[in-house]
Amino acid sequence: MPRAAGASPADAARQTAASDELRYVPVGHSFASVTDQISDLVLGRATRMGWYVTFAAGSFLLLMFSGVVVYLLAKGVGIWGINVPVGWCFAITSFVWWIGIGHAGTLISAILVLLHQKWRTSINRIAEAMTIFAVMCAGTFPLLHLGRPWYFYWLLPYPNTMKLWPQFRSALVWDVFAVSTYFTVSLMFWYMGMIPDFATLRDRATKKRWQMAYGMLAMGWRNSARHWHRYQMAYLLLAGLATPLVISVHSVVSSDFAISLEPGWHETVFPPYFVAGALLSGFAMVIALAIPMRHYYGIKDFISLSHLEVMAKILLATSFFTSYGYFSEQFITWISGETYDKYVYLNILIGWRQYAVITWITLGCVFIAPQLFWIPRFRRNEKVLFVVSVLVLAGMWMERYLLITTSLSRDFLPSSWGIFQPTIWDILTYVGSIGLFVVTFLLFCRFLPMISMCEMRGLLPGSRGHEEGR
């Protein structure tokens, strides 16, 4: 099979000037070198030890997850620590956390497409893959929480012998529609973005079975200009549709809480506050994944420090959005004078025997830690970036936990107050879901193009691509 040749001198000359305008464009690359480097990660390179070791660790967690699920199905949700009054806890926390992580993918791919942000090209594929897998992890939790997951289809409107319909006025049914729409649209957006890259892999694969596999995935894409014309329009429209979708999904998730009457849940700030938290955790996850990947796969040309820097800035900004949510909650409660609400928030802040320790750790992780990124040096320091991202992820999990648990454990009737105690099964279910994410993500890295080659080519100077010259 023909292979692309090296960079032409003209291309190289055009790219020597690494001006500020070209910060996000891979310096010194040509169409051929972009193609070579990215497709060789899939086709040309033997699977290395590091991948196998991580995959083994992920598989171990996934196996454990399967074991936990089997036990859960056999025994019921009673193996978890949930009980009256705290009937929602780890599973719903993990659901909200995972679906939040799944938001950066569509934000990076869709909203940044519409805003013509060049830097997204390096990371949009990774972020979209992350979205798909995070939403898969998220989806398992409400299903397992159903108690009898084999009846999950009762949530869908289908003509049935019981002559019943789902209660469409319930936010829980909205959730089913929002999350499944989000998964479908994200999957389509991800797949559509990969079609031209599958064609590249098909054309470069040397083994028959890979030519067949990538050929089928490429669906006969032949890079026709007339096809590109419709493709670009469809892609732009999908981005335009996905943008309000991202906002709506986490808003609907927040409605699970906000349209209830629980003190601390019944708040109008929830939808935007949930979306902000989702973006924060999603960006933290992208950074936490991109840093090891750029080292391990040698793609520092494509994911440069400038890319990490701009993501650090977004992390700082979204940290402020989220923190604004906290302070606004506290302020509104204080000014409203609602006794029950005030009591819940007092518990959150100084209820040391309950959850206040977690509150202050959360604030440290989610609000204080990202403040480091005011200093330019830290925005370009990978170690700091990685540690802060992991802290933010942990903080966001704890924040979701607090949000769900504190209200439930102290509602209107003092006789039904209670404290949540997680069991080992709560913890294993959550940790096991990370295994599902790790395994699926590693398979993505091994078999699919992890950076969009066609968009990267269109970014090169002189390419007359969509983003070039903007």
């Binding site: 006025r169 894409w221 200009a225 007339r226 096809h227 549709l241």
Partner: protein
């Protein structure tokens, strides 16, 4: 191809190393009156489809219709099941409690519109189509990597194997002209790019 039987042609294709050369050649071919032609580029090139004479796409119209159908069907599904088929009084709210139906109607709008965008793109592009005469040309594999191609198809009324070959050969800074046979070569053979530049005239 056997030397005596002339293979049926899909078209003649010129190869270019730069997008600027492709643009120039496309403009020249259009000015010369060729219509049934297409360019092949490893990424979306702005303005190339217009240069080929492609008008506005109908994808947005399909998406609009899809969105309206999705929203309408989503709303009606809820209205019909909640207010007509199984009227159920939830907390004294009206049976047609339309504000509560908006989220699902919205999600359905996005879902159907997105599926319409994806499927209409594929349908209008005549995909999936795993076979195509262009794939008979070995160096066409670089259309997905780093090369640019312009193919004038045999169905064009102005197409004439010899004159079109001459016309394409006069294009500036092309890397070779190649015949695109309609059918794949009878026996698969090992070929490299250099060997298959059969009809090169420069």
């Amino acid at each position: 191809m056997t030397p005596d039987a002339k293979p049926k042609l899909f078209g003649l294709m010129a190869e270019f190393a730069s997008v600027d050369a492709l643009f120039a050649a496309t403009r020249r071919a259009r000015q010369a009156g060729y219509r049934e032609m297409d360019a092949y580029t490893p990424y979306a090139v702005e303005g190339l489809a217009e240069e080929l004479g492609e008008g506005k796409t109908r994808v947005p119209v399909v998406v609009l219709i899809g969105g309206l159908v999705g929203a309408g069907a989503g709303f009606l599904m809820q209205y019909w099941s909640m207010a007509v088929d199984y009227p159920f009084n939830a907390g004294g709210r009206p049976l047609n409690s339309w504000p509560a139906f908006i989220p699902i109607a919205f999600e359905m709008m996005i879902l159907v519109a997105s599926i319409s965008a994806f499927l209409s793109m594929l349908f209008m592009n005549d995909l999936p189509r795993p076979h195509h005469p262009l794939f008979n040309v070995p160096q066409f594999a670089r259309a997905s990597q780093d090369r640019f191609f312009l193919c004038i198809e045999a169905t064009d009324p102005k197409f004439d194997a010899e004159r079109t070959l001459e016309f394409l050969s006069a294009a500036e800074s092309h890397l070779g002209i190649v015949e695109v046979p309609m059918d794949p070569p009878a026996a698969p053979r090992e070929t490299s790019i250099e060997q298959t530049h059969v009809a090169v005239m420069s």
